[in-house]
């Protein structure tokens, strides 16, 4: 008999607080567009009562949960619905096996290392429909799913050569895989903004946070990956006050909370330290502003922006700091999108069997973006940006992009 771990006990314990109010069901982006997912309440607090360790899972539709986490955010009773469902997905994967596709697309470091040196060929491949059709048949990655171009250079190479001014006010930058392989220019902007505000930026050697593995239910691999990252970051923040800041909002959420709560790593001292010290970039900048420490020498930026706060950003429980930061920029006209999710949920919308669902989930957001008349979309998470840019045919940027423009570097 498998013993129940403390974290499982904690999650399962929370289900007794469920009063069946259905608030999670009203908010779930997935169950509202497809009958294939039975909904967070049904697969979570309800089905969980019938899941027994070492016995086959009673409920398989939880495979269609995208792991966006909105159910937990809206629950007024504190039930850990998304976390219960993540455990259930992991159980299902252990039971039914993991498709080759899930072993590949959940490894951004492998993909990035393979694609970067051969970026031109790789990007050419990504754009070719016949090859994508083959990819769909063989790997079950949908032919129309958004696939970003490799930058052909790595952010860490730039960072190694870059010397941050020695102000003594140290900060550790966690750039994540998106910045490393696809959007190195975003990392350069983050560094410039931090330096402008007096920070001395350290970029330690780092790789994936394990979130794609975790959200696909590959918990053992995800644990190895996130702990490896924690070992690399922790030595830099062992003093009293150095913090870690990241621009990949879903990856910083992984470090802050998801790895500890979902992967049962509450007791790892390195991860705990990293978790407590990690900031989302907009969270940090707004906190600086609240204390009167953010430089606001912003020049006007004449642009119309549709801002979407991704689900994982909302999981930080910090409100929408990007909106308040963008409001400081003269000339910028920002419209807040009022849709729950773009559908991609990391790797969910890449999967052939889930692509249509992901597009249906995002339809509301895409309509709002188009209706807003905005020229540019701002969004804190890279996979969401790629999804939104492809669906709405508009450039999608991180909010710090606009701050960078406003600083006029």
């Amino acid at each position: 008999v498998t013993l129940v771990t403390p974290i499982e006990e904690l999650l399962r314990g929370s289900l007794d607080h469920c009063v069946k109010c259905t608030i999670c069901e009203t908010a779930c982006p997935v169950s509202n567009v497809t009958p294939l997912f039975a909904g967070p309440k049904y697969t979570g607090p309800q089905a969980e009562r019938y899941r027994v360790a070492d016995e086959p899972s009673v409920e398989t539709s939880v495979d269609y949960c995208s792991g966006c986490g909105i159910c937990t955010q809206v629950c007024p009773q504190g039930v850990k619905i998304a976390e219960i469902n993540a455990q259930a997905r992991n159980k299902l994967k252990r039971q039914k096996g993991v498709p080759l596709r899930d072993r590949i697309i959940t490894r951004p470091t492998w993909l990035g290392r393979a694609g970067t040196p051969a970026a031109r060929i790789a990007n050419w491949t990504i754009d070719k429909k016949p090859l994508r059709i083959v990819g769909e048949k063989v790997l079950k990655v949908h032919r129309d799913a958004p696939a970003p171009d490799f930058a052909g250079r790595r952010f860490s190479r730039w960072a190694r050569k870059h010397q941050s001014p020695r102000t003594g006010r140290k900060i550790v930058y966690f750039h994540g895989c998106g910045t490393e392989y696809y959007e190195p220019y975003e990392g350069e902007k983050v560094v410039a903004i931090l330096e402008h505000n007096g920070f001395e930026v350290t970029v330690p050697k780092q790789d994936c946070c394990g979130l794609p593995l975790q959200s696909s239910g590959l918990f053992d691999d995800a644990r190895k990956v996130v702990l490896r990252l924690a070992r690399k970051l922790a030595p830099h923040v062992r003093d009293d006050d150095t913090i870690i800041v990241g621009n990949a909002t879903s990856c910083t959420l992984m470090l802050k909370r998801e790895a500890r709560e979902i992967l049962n790593l509450e007791d790892d001292p390195d991860l705990k330290l990293v978790s407590e010290r990690t900031y989302d970039i907009c969270e940090l900048l707004l906190e600086l502003h609240d204390r009167g420490e953010l430089k606001t020498d912003f020049k006007p930026v004449e642009d119309t922006i549709a801002y979407h706060a991704p689900c994982q950003q909302q999981g930080h429980s910090i409100g929408k700091p990007a909106l308040e930061l963008l409001a400081l920029v003269p000339g910028l006209h920002v419209t807040e999108m009022n849709a729950r999710c773009c559908g991609i949920a990391g790797t969910y919308g890449l999967k052939a069997e889930k692509y249509d669902i992901a597009m249906a989930v995002g339809a509301d957001l895409f309509d709002q973006v188009r209706a807003s008349g905005a020229a540019t979309v701002a969004c804190d998470s890279e996979t969401c940006r790629w999804q939104i840019a492809k669906a709405t045919e508009r450039p999608a940027v991180h909010p710090i992009d606009l701050l960078y423009r406003a600083y006029g570097f």
């Binding site: 608030i23 069901e25 006050d241 978790s275 999981g315 429980s317 409001a327 920002v334 009022n338 709002q368």
Partner: protein, 439 residues
């Protein structure tokens, strides 16, 4: 870094009371943040503003009954809020609905006369202010009613509703319309999204029309549209050529979700901040004040420093109040003293489940100005207030709305000069689907 934020006011709770207090404060120029464990009462309540339905007989004129209640029960929340603030809060709310994200959607009524509307089980609910989409359900109008259900919405039993109405002397019968959904059943939200679609509505109306008798009005579960309820309702009336009205359903409540969107949008327009999914876990006190509240965020706790705190966390149902196994009632959020719980020698429960239970009037102890006992900068609003029995009085939403409104008014009066002197917060951020910011 310190993970510390500073606001003029922090509002705890995102139900009607909390969102109203926060919006009103932000509109008055205060820097406001709402911190809430999750979505609140709106999604569960029927979306009507019931000010006073029973006192204890059914109330016809809430204004008169309210004045009598205030005179007779100085400990009742309405006595602390005052009749003027109740009236003003209804007007304020109606205005926000009209400026809200649902075009044309509005509320009708006021304190002069309660409207009597059917509930999902065919009982009658006295409400002061109701969505226009419900108003044709007035049972005193005398016209016969056809209550229309659909099998896929399993929590709405048209036959039960019609039979109970008929039993109470309101001519009613039931009809059932077959609708296609992908799964075996649908919830109210799923159906409401379908009613936003004009083609879907047209097909629904075409199926329903031949089932109706000439003189009947049509009562439907309250699922007539999420984004454009006014448009959906008006379209159905036109297509069916008769009055149509919504009947509140069991949760999830579509009209309640519309209220949430109205208040959320108004808060955003006024420049307020909303943090959902963050549980407040305690207060830092200095002397008779709460200097800061601590809340869970991902990976760490955040300290929200505030000059004023509005506690709008709800009562026993939300878990904000709890009765310990040794019969001590406590406020689980800030640990403030609770008033109105039965003493050690008193009866704690009465036999009849739905009767007024002795524990019902318990709430966070406040003075005449809604200030919490022992914490001079904490104001209490909504179901956390002691002295009311909302399900008996038909007063829950009225107390939530007016106490949230009054709490904000009191804070602004007290600190108005300081708050208003500050340069106006930037309000260039717009909300999708909403009109331009008010200022």
């Amino acid at each position: 870094m310190r993970r510390e934020l500073h606001f003029d006011a922090v509002v705890i709770g995102a139900g009607t009371a909390g969102l109203t207090a926060a919006t009103r404060l932000a509109e008055g120029g205060a820097r406001v943040c709402v911190v809430a464990k999750g979505v609140g009462s709106t999604h569960l309540a029927p979306g009507t503003i019931d000010v006073l339905g029973y006192a204890p007989e059914r109330v016809e004129e809430p204004e008169t009954a309210l004045a009598q209640l205030i005179a007779a029960r100085p400990d009742h929340p309405y006595a602390l809020i005052g009749a003027d603030a109740v009236a003003a809060s209804l007007q304020w709310f109606s205005d926000r609905v009209q400026e809200g994200p649902q075009p044309g959607y509005r509320y009708l009524g006021g304190l002069d006369r309660n409207q009597l509307l059917p509930t999902a089980v065919g009982a009658v609910r006295p409400s002061a202010l109701v969505p226009e989409t419900m108003s044709e359900g007035e049972v005193r109008s005398g016209e016969p009613v056809c209550v229309v259900g659909t099998r896929v919405l399993r929590d709405f039993h048209a036959a039960l509703c019609a039979a109970n109405l008929d039993g109470a002397g309101i001519a009613a019968r039931a009809a059932d319309v077959e609708v296609e959904v992908e799964r075996a059943d649908a919830n109210a939200v799923g159906l409401a999204r379908r009613f936003d679609d004009a083609q879907w509505r047209a097909a629904f109306a075409a199926t329903l029309a031949p089932m109706l008798r000439a003189d009947e009005r049509v009562g439907l579960p309250a699922v007539l549209g999420m984004r454009d309820p006014h448009g959906a309702w008006a379209d159905l009336q036109r297509r069916l050529g008769r009055p149509v009205f919504e009947i509140p359903t069991l949760p999830p409540s579509v009209p309640g979700m519309r209220v949430f969107e109205v208040l959320r949008g108004a808060l955003r327009r006024a420049g307020g901040r909303l943090v959902l999914g963050s549980e407040v876990i305690g207060a830092e006190r200095a002397g008779g004040r709460v200097e800061a509240v601590r809340a869970h965020a991902a990976g760490h706790d955040v300290r929200y420093h505030a000059r004023w705190v509005v506690l709008a966390t709800g009562g026993f149902a939300s878990g904000a109040l709890e009765l310990t196994s040794d019969w001590v009632a406590r406020d689980t959020v800030l640990g403030l003293p609770v008033r109105g719980a039965p003493g050690p020698d008193e009866a704690r429960f009465v036999g009849e489940y739905l009767a007024e239970q002795p524990i019902a009037r318990a709430g966070v102890a406040v003075d005449g100005g809604l200030r919490a006992e022992g914490a001079e900068n904490v104001l209490v609003a909504g179901a956390a207030l002691p002295g009311a029995v909302p399900w008996h009085e038909g007063s829950g939403e009225g107390i939530a709305l007016s106490s949230g409104y009054r709490a904000a008014q009191l804070v602004l009066q007290e600190s108005g000069a300081e708050v208003l002197e500050r340069p106006e917060a930037d309000r260039r951020t717009q909300d999708a689907g909403l009109d331009a910011p008010r200022r």
